[in-house]
Symmetry: C2
Subunit: 596 residues, 2 copies
């Protein structure tokens, strides 16, 4: 099994060339950000990922968590790693400075978070959930809630969870049944069962702060009657010390295909006299509050796709460099060479590499939009970046995680028979990756958000603005002196044409034929991801071409080849998606249900 | 978890409409085959699959095998199921009558084998390996070997294995190092280590008959110095009774991603004074003998793709019919309906259904070629079918198993969060399917066989003959009175055009640019599978259209919709493959190895 080495140079390239780090470093509030500081942060994070988190990834997968009488013991080494993670300040790093975070730009923290996901996806989920809870409380909670919970959560002494799903309420949160009854002292008694609660119970932190969706007694039905509560595992005394155990318990943990080292809990609230909880913000606005935070969580799950793809790629390259097998076709030397030289192994590695880079490109690009949408002094620029961020959030979540499926699958295939043996390490990446297209909203949920809220109901303006930016890149490529660059431009043009056609079809059909539009939603998301990824790869190629002479280690030459691979092997998929969207809805919808 | 119900009507349709069962039943040697008999066999086999094999599939996955001191205990229920499997005659069913089999046409036994693979892939592997060993001994062994081993192997009292792989010799069998020294009495002393030996050790049978590739002392290096031996776990006395334990032992079993209930053994031969083995056929022709048998095994692994896809589809449809979640877009009734009605769930189910049917179509069609190649009285017809069989064998192995990856993946996705929970049952199908693109030759090995031996070195005649048959179907569709049928014809035409272009490119480049050709090998295999699948789905549509009035239960209407889905959603992928082959080789090969 190979270890994980953070691809710092790749990350810096995406941050600088695509996300616009220089501009972001110049925004108000980012005065302390310098290229040296960013590189130093990435180097340090990379070291922590390699030395502390990566080594316990495979053992954690094998051992998993142990549930006993409501308590969960994490796999060996996780407690120690978490303590060190918090001590060195990594836990709160992306949080705002107000409660002890470092307030780094999202563009920078995105690269650091990618490392945690690559090194140990199970481990990284604890921080992701904690920071999501921090964000929800920070944006919508009272000062009392903020002061009581946030400093410890940012420090990591306490962790956070999101209690949304119930057995009958998965993608459809309107069906939530958990109850919250006023206790007369301003607090609420929460009761009901929540499932699929990531890091819902564990032994790494002193307290666990649960955010819970529940209904007040007089709440209207459906999504407009759901409120958000904070319910800590241990109640907190007025002086901040831990008080009584709250009436909430981990009833069991799930036996899953992957992410074994992160406990997925069934949480039972109020089996005695009600779990004490505190209302966040106003009643009945819980879902709205959750969504503020969920958009960021969706970007972070998209980033899991990038991280796990990178890890699978490193594992596969390592094996392909070492393993000697068979004669290389067309090789006259007669030497025994590693399988890296077999054309089909190269094809798989190039496919893994180019899709990993393209998903990183879009994830970091959108992080840049987030920074500009928040801090740019010009309101027009803030607005444009906010619209781009909203358009691409479901694409980052959906497309990056879908891409990781094929990448981790190829990661096994490169190993041949050894790939199927668990000890080799390639299986875990594919098993871990499998959850990413499901949680925080399945690919279909993302796709419906994309075609509805983000394209059709918005009149397609945000998508047209994106296509215009792509056209600018295309013009640069079309007029380029280098034939290879013109080829990349032509392939981008083909993808843009397919995306524009599908967008027109969607705008024309969304209201009149909503089922037909929904039948093409996932192909549309994949089409948008493929073309946006192709656009950013093309931009990378333009930058790399200019810098070819700057470096003699081949970094920019590799960037060009990778962009070209993407344009020749991945971008042509855009046409199949377009065909499926524009011509394919009837055959999706025609079958009588009895005939399946 | 749903049970498995054999899709007998689907199977009969593929056998009759595509494989040509009526013609096959009329071939010499098949006199006893009648439509009633075939249906009765499938019904009985289906019952056995549902009642005996399917129920122990998930428990077998959870429990796996236990290794202790060289002995392997199978999961609970396997011994009893295997005893019943042999008693009822299912084990030897596909074998020739000479040694106790039923000598059924391959077309019929293929459908039965698909059921075992669907119901319990781990279990089915034992029979598959045994019958492969039977075939090798029957074709190449002496009468003594045949009489000593075959009756018990066909009956299933003894099982068989294939010992090919060694740590340094996987895809490249030229690197085999196992030794065989003459013992002076006509037998040989075999020594060495073999890995990845499926059902290499277990407790279901009285004896295990290992076929082993090894080198004689004077053997030339490489593939031309490998001989084939039979080495039984227990030596067999002259009277047929079991004698001494042979010097071969299961040193350990692997911890795999899937097929947990089938032990994958490391076999140590000759750790004391050599395992006694008997030469099969002539010295140094072992690899050639293995390949006779391996071609049939490859078709059977392709069929595993069909079987596991069918099982995953049934599991997903069952869940989609039961699970109620969310409002159906565009549905004005306001009723709560199962998720089967969500357009994207339909899309996934249609995708699973159409790919499963297309892979079944090609697997059964090739089984029909096998029957005609063997028994047709007209030599020209035999020859044409043999060439078609050879051309499509790597396609059945490669494309059907690759298709099963997406189908079993979607099988999880349809379940949402529940799909990731092992107890639901969807994960196992995806984990089990993962091995099928690796063993019996990876997809790349199949693809190299296809582009080399089966297309380029043969001058492309077999592929052109296939394209001509497709053109006949296309003409029928183009001239059809129904617009839907003409659409299917147009889509088939697009696919054929892509396949013809890629074939021309391959013929022009294979000798001059062997690495470029190999870079496109896997896309070429997928292209060939997609277009051949599309052709057979189009033929299905023609037959179904004629019979629409024959049945009022919608079976033929469903066939038409499924064929149309395939033509609109799957066939367009042909163009991406063509693009990757024709334009994409340089970017596969360009990267310096240090830059990966």
């Amino acid at each position: 099994m190979t270890t994980y080495i953070a691809p710092v140079r790749e990350m810096l390239f995406a941050m600088n060339a695509l996300a616009g780090l220089e501009e972001i470093a110049g925004l108000p509030g980012n005065e302390e950000i310098s290229p040296d500081l960013v590189e130093a942060i990435l180097d340090e994070a990379g070291k922590f990922a390699t030395e502390v988190l990566a080594p316990i990834n495979a053992p954690g997968d094998r051992q998993g968590n142990t549930w006993r009488d409501g308590e969960v013991s994490t796999a060996d080494g996780f407690k120690e790693a978490y303590a060190s993670f918090c001590e060195t300040g990594w836990n709160g790093m992306p949080a705002s400075t107000e409660f002890g975070g470092q307030g780094l730009p999202v563009t920078v923290s995105t690269a650091v978070l990618e490392m945690w996901k690559s090194a140990n996806m199970s481990f990284s989920l604890c921080q992701m959930l904690t920071l999501g809870a921090v964000e929800a409380i920070a944006h919508h909670g009272s000062d009392e809630l903020k002061n009581t919970f946030l400093p410890n959560m940012v420090a990591g002494t306490w962790t956070g969870t999101m209690n949304l799903t119930e057995p009958q309420a998965g993608s459809d949160l309107a069906a939530v049944r958990c109850k919250a009854e006023p206790r007369g002292d301003g607090s609420y008694a929460i009761s009901g069962t929540k499932i699929f609660i990531t890091w819902g119970e564990h032994d790494m932190a002193e307290n666990i702060i649960h955010l819970v969706l529940a209904r007040l007694p007089d709440a209207p039905p459906g999504v407009k009657g759901i409120s958000l509560f904070v319910a800590p595992k241990f109640l907190v005394n007025a002086d901040g010390s831990l008080g009584a155990r709250n009436d909430l318990v981990c009833a069991s943990i799930e036996h899953k295909m992957g992410i074994h080292a992160s406990a997925t809990a069934v949480m039972a609230f109020g089996e005695k006299d009600g779990a004490i909880g505190y209302l966040v913000g106003e009643p009945n606005r819980g879902l709205e509050y959750m969504f503020t935070m969920m958009n960021h969580a969706r970007l972070n799950v998209g980033l899991e796709g990038v991280g796990i793809a990178e890890r699978a790629y490193q594992q596969a390259v390592g094996y392909a460099r070492d393993r000697i097998q068979g004669r290389i076709i067309g090789d006259k030397s007669g030497d025994k060479k590693p399988i890296l030289h077999h054309p089909d192994v190269r094809r798989m590695l190039m496919d893994m590499k180019s899709r990993t880079e393209a998903t990183r490109a879009i994830a970091y690009y959108v992080a840049g939009c987030m920074d500009r949408a928040k801090s740019h002094p010009d309101e027009t620029v803030r607005g444009a970046n906010q619209r781009r961020l909203e358009l691409l959030t479901p694409v980052v979540k959906g497309w990056c995680t879908e891409a990781a499926q094929g990448v981790t699958w190829n990661g096994i295939q490169v190993h041949g028979g050894m790939g199927f043996i668990e000890e080799t390490g390639a299986c875990q990446h594919m098993r871990d990756a499998r959850i990413t297209t499901i949680y925080e909203g399945t690919t279909a949920i993302q796709a419906n958000d994309l075609i509805g809220r983000k394209v059709a109901r918005e009149g397609g303006h945000a998508m047209r603005a994106l296509l215009e930016d792509m056209a600018t890149t295309r013009r640069q490529l079309d007029g380029h002196g280098d034939a290879q660059m013109r080829h990349i431009g032509a392939a981008l043009g083909g993808g843009m044409y397919a995306l524009a056609e599908a967008t027109d079809w969607l705008l024309a059909n969304y209201d009149a034929h909503p089922q037909a539009a929904a039948a093409g939603a996932v192909p549309f998301l994949k089409l948008a991801g493929t073309v946006a990824g192709g656009w950013l790869m093309a931009r990378s190629a333009l930058v790399a071409f200019e810098r070819l002479a700057d470096s003699d280690d081949g970094f920019y030459a590799a960037k060009l080849i990778t962009a070209r691979y993407f344009s020749e092997h991945v971008l042509p998929e855009a046409n199949s998606y377009r065909d499926a969207i524009v011509n394919g809805s009837e055959s999706v919808l025609a079958m009588h249900e009895a005939l399946f």
